[in-house]
């Protein structure tokens, strides 16, 4: 691209259990790395400043806004996205609960909510309503008013 373009970074990373070897421009966000370089467009762009949570993925088990992570930073790390949530055996209980509880309308925030909620349930299988609301405060939804999202997460809790 432009003159004086800094060199790309060699990144070896595991995404949804599959190893990828990538050349990532230093300035490229993890969000764009996933969407543009690898083609995983399930992770959504909403604001690019960490205030909507639509781009939530997890790195080594911790949820992050992938717009505020550089692709170069995930060298040697394990990244999980919405595309890795279902297994050949079927949907994750959260995905199933979101469908059954009608917890999505337009669906653009849904991948972020699901990845975030999984981050909660993986560590706290039976969170209270208050804890669910606190955990998901970094994910904006403009369609549902959150009622059915909270209920779906409760349903998927053990």
């Amino acid at each position: 691209m432009t003159t004086n373009t800094p060199s790309k970074v060699h990144v070896t990373t595991t995404i949804n259990g599959q190893q990828h070897e990538l050349l990532v421009p230093g300035y490229m966000s993890l969000l764009d790395t996933l969407r543009e370089l690898i083609g995983l467009t399930g992770t959504k762009e909403g604001c690019l400043d960490g205030n909507c949570g639509a781009c939530t993925v997890s790195i080594d088990g911790r949820i992050v806004d992938s717009c505020l992570v550089l692709g170069a930073e995930v060298d040697g790390k394990e990244v999980s996205t919405i595309e890795g949530m279902a297994t050949p055996e079927g949907l994750h209980p959260l995905q199933q609960a979101f469908l059954e509880e009608a917890a999505l309308q337009c669906g653009i925030c849904t991948p972020g909510f699901l990845v975030a909620a999984k981050g909660l349930l993986d560590n706290e299988p039976s969170p209270s309503e208050g804890r669910i609301r606190h955990w998901l405060a970094g994910n904006l939804c403009r369609c549902t008013g959150y009622d059915k999202i909270v209920r779906a997460v409760q349903k998927a809790s053990s």
């Binding site: 969407r35 467009t41 959504k44 595309e83 337009c106 653009i108 991948p111 998901l136 405060a137 904006l140």
Partner: protein
């Protein structure tokens, strides 16, 4: 002659809650939204935007940007076709091609901050953004106006020198007033003179945004055949095509719009923004071009709903009967004409029967983004004013405000403020449901030390539109049906469409596979907006399904060698009228069609007047920290007449989502404008939409008064629920702190001030 229908109750599919057909793709990340579009050779477009709210463009120098490696095309206002001044109805509001074109790309003058002055297509987004920074624009900054009062002053800076305003039918020039309309009925002066109780108050509201999470986007390819293919997140592929063709000055048949999944719209994705620009960049670069808007530009240049100034005066007799009302309504249009004063006039008095009324509305230009529809455009504003005034009138006279609303409620035959007479409506039923609801009959509860609680109620109304829709059906040999329909699906409507078809054919909701068509695979269909989709497109699906039954009766007639008039159809089974034991199920018949005349298809299309008036009443309990002014919503209930709920879970979702948008509008959302016309808070950090932590669960009470104009009684439901929250919360705050607020947002700062 408009067809009417008797209510039914014995539905098999209607009223159930099947999993939505598109749900699997949406919970797995596979669904393709506009921003996910990929094409071979795709390049990226970005806009160069004005840092000023109002300025003349002295010069633009794009040479440095054009010289950059990886840049394929640069365009400015000079590249825009000169669209003529022509008004076109988009279903929820009109557009004029001339203004619509000017809104997308400034000509010689910028009218709002963020107004595009150039656009660039480059190999990737980062390169395009770098190139955009190399475009130099010389501006002559002009004074700006950002509210209706300043815009109408004698010496106000004029936005559009060639605007001819319509002042009650008279042409006016050198003005920011695009229109002034009036509706007057009865003897208003006389009624006020004899009123026992009157109240007159002024209300002001800041502009707010739809706040959809998916930014605007578009991908376009202008090919060698001069055909323009567009992939976009839109609320209506056909209205998008109308706008794109009008702005680009080409025939509509040259434009093909493929609607991709859409990440929220609420009205804001009815107008096009990037589509024509991407097309022109594509023509110039001979490559497909994709554009995705940055969030700050979404706030600064798309969407918002009008900020407003309103003066309401009410009169009632000694017995608590409303007798007179006047409303003066000034709405911000943004940089081009088209604030929603028409709908505001239709909505302001709608919940009440008032014999003597006057409404004056003004559509006023200001140096802010051109407004777009936002969920019941114009109605939440007037609901805030009207429902606050109703409560204050009741407080002053010592009346119970719920009983007052019941006693004065509109009903069949009531005249709306713009003169229309209501048919069968559910305002009274809704208010009776409020009276018997658990929430209304539960105590407010004691506030903790240092806090105060209050409960408020308010009505809301939206008229719900009908318009045009199309649906196609085709039978598969395994007994399922393919449905193609024209309404883009923002909240599960595909499934509601499939349920209409399934109910007619006596098959399951998942035996129908619904697809949203592009503009070359389905007939014209208006926007997903105006709360029309389930009503009008559902109606078209119902028609198509009934037409399919007729087609299939012909096939059964071949099978049994009888006349098709002698074939009956009930609950998925065809039978012979002559020999009742002779039957064949829909699925079995589907498997035999190859030998019975081949493919069985049908279509349905409608052009409908209204989707049935929608009324709702909300109950809000607030708790206010008296030391900080912070408001928490501790309990909230939506009561609404929903006609017949086809898929109750998604109807509840509409009620909850609308209520929460209203809650955000009431408490924190606003365009915070700086003196130079810049929006200070154009991010999700400072434009404070509610988070999960700011809300309780939202209870819903669905009152079902079937709409006689739809075969299953469907009424529009999506827009009404954003109308009551603002006044319900205002009324609750008044009860909690004893002081009434007349401006939105009713944030902690305003409450703290009121507490002093």
């Amino acid at each position: 002659m408009v067809a009417t229908f008797e209510p039914k109750t014995d539905y098999k599919v209607v009223g159930t809650r099947p999993i939505r057909h598109d749900g699997y793709d949406k919970v797995t990340g596979r669904a393709i939204y506009g921003g996910d579009m990929k094409l071979p050779g795709l390049i990226w477009g970005v806009c160069v935007r004005s840092p000023h709210a109002h300025a003349n463009i002295k010069s633009i120098d794009t040479t440095a940007a054009e010289a950059m490696d990886g840049v394929f095309a640069v365009i400015t206002g000079a590249d825009m076709p000169k669209a003529p001044s022509k008004l076109v109805d988009l279903g929820e509001g009109n557009i004029n091609f001339k203004w619509a074109s000017n809104k997308l790309m400034a000509d010689d003058k910028v009218l709002y901050r963020g107004h595009p002055v150039a656009a660039i297509a480059a190999v990737d987004r980062y390169t395009a953004e770098e190139a955009a920074r190399k475009v130099t624009v010389e501006y002559e900054v002009l004074p700006s106006v950002t509210n209706v009062v300043d815009a109408l002053k004698e010496d106000a800076p004029i936005l559009l020198e060639d605007l001819v305003g319509d002042d009650l039918g008279e042409d006016v020039t050198n003005t920011n007033m695009a229109a002034h309309v009036r509706h007057e009925f009865g003897d208003v002066e006389g009624a006020f003179a004899s009123a026992a109780h009157t109240i007159e108050r002024e209300y002001n509201m800041q502009m707010v945004h739809q706040g959809y999470i998916e930014p605007q986007n578009a991908t376009a390819m202008w090919d060698e055949e001069d055909r323009i293919k567009v992939w976009t997140s839109t609320q209506g592929a056909f209205p998008a095509r109308t706008q794109i063709a009008g702005i680009l000055q080409v025939d509509v048949s040259r434009v093909k719009v493929t609607p991709l999944e859409i990440g929220g719209g609420f009205g804001g994705k009815i107008p096009v923004y990037f589509e024509p620009l991407a097309a022109i960049l594509s023509k110039k670069s001979q490559r497909p071009v994709k554009m995705v808007m940055e969030r700050s530009a979404v706030f600064e240049t798309t969407g918002p709903t009008p900020g407003a100034r309103m003066i309401i005066k009410l009169g009632a007799d000694a017995n608590g009967k409303l007798t007179a009302a006047t409303a003066d309504i000034w709405f911000e249009a943004g940089a081009n004409p088209g604030a929603f004063i028409g709908p505001a006039a239709m909505c302001v008095y709608a919940p009440y029967e008032i014999a003597n009324t006057r409404i004056d509305g003004w559509d006023v230009l200001v140096n802010k983004p051109k407004v777009a529809p936002y969920r019941a455009p114009g109605s939440p504003q007037v609901a805030f004013a009207m429902e606050s005034a109703i409560d204050e009138l009741c407080e002053n006279a010592g009346w119970d405000s719920l009983q007052f609303r019941i006693d004065n409620a509109s009903k069949e035959g009531t005249r709306r403020g713009d003169g229309v007479l209501f048919s069968k409506i559910g305002m009274q039923e809704v208010l009776e449901a409020v009276k018997t609801s658990d929430h209304w009959n539960s105590p407010l509860g004691d506030a903790p030390a240092g806090k105060a609680r209050g409960r408020g109620i308010a009505n809301g109304y939206w008229f719900n539109i009908g318009l045009k829709s199309s649906a196609n059906l085709a039978v598969n040999s395994d007994g399922t049906v393919q449905l193609t329909e024209g309404s883009t699906d923002i909240g599960g409507s595909r499934t509601a469409m499939a349920m209409h078809v399934a109910e007619v054919l006596g098959i399951g909701a998942h035996d129908v596979r619904p697809t949203v068509g592009d503009t070359e695979s389905i007939g014209y269909t208006d926007v997903t907006g105006g709360s029309r989709t389930t009503y009008a497109t559902g109606y078209a699906c119902w028609l198509a399904a009934n037409n399919l039954v007729d087609v299939l009766k012909e096939r059964v007639a071949i099978l049994w060698d009888i006349n098709s008039d002698d074939v009956d159809f009930n609950d998925g089974v065809f039978s012979s009228k002559a020999e009742a034991e002779k039957t064949i199920g829909f699925k079995e018949l589907a498997g035999k069609l190859d030998d019975l005349g081949g493919p069985a298809n049908s279509t349905g299309s409608v052009d409908l007047e209204s989707a049935g008036d929608g009324f709702g009443t909300h109950i809000a309990d607030v708790e206010i920290d008296l030391a900080t002014g912070k408001t928490d919503i501790v309990r909230y209930t939506v009561v609404q007449d929903v006609g017949t709920a086809i898929h109750p879970a998604y109807v509840e979702g509409q009620l909850q989502g609308g209520a929460v948008q209203g809650i955000g509008w009431a408490l924190n959302e606003e365009y915070f404008m700086l003196d130079d016309g810049r929006m200070a808070n154009s991010s999700f950090l400072d434009y404070r939409m509610p988070t999960t932590l700011d809300l309780p669960l939202i209870d819903t009470v669905m009152v079902e008064v079937p709409n006689p104009l739809h075969p299953y009684g469907v009424r529009g439901v999506g827009e009404t629920p954003i109308c009551p929250p603002i006044p319900a919360i205002a009324n609750a705050i008044k009860e909690a702190i004893g002081t009434r607020l007349y401006e939105t947002p009713m944030n902690a700062g305003s409450i703290l001030k009121a507490l002093k």
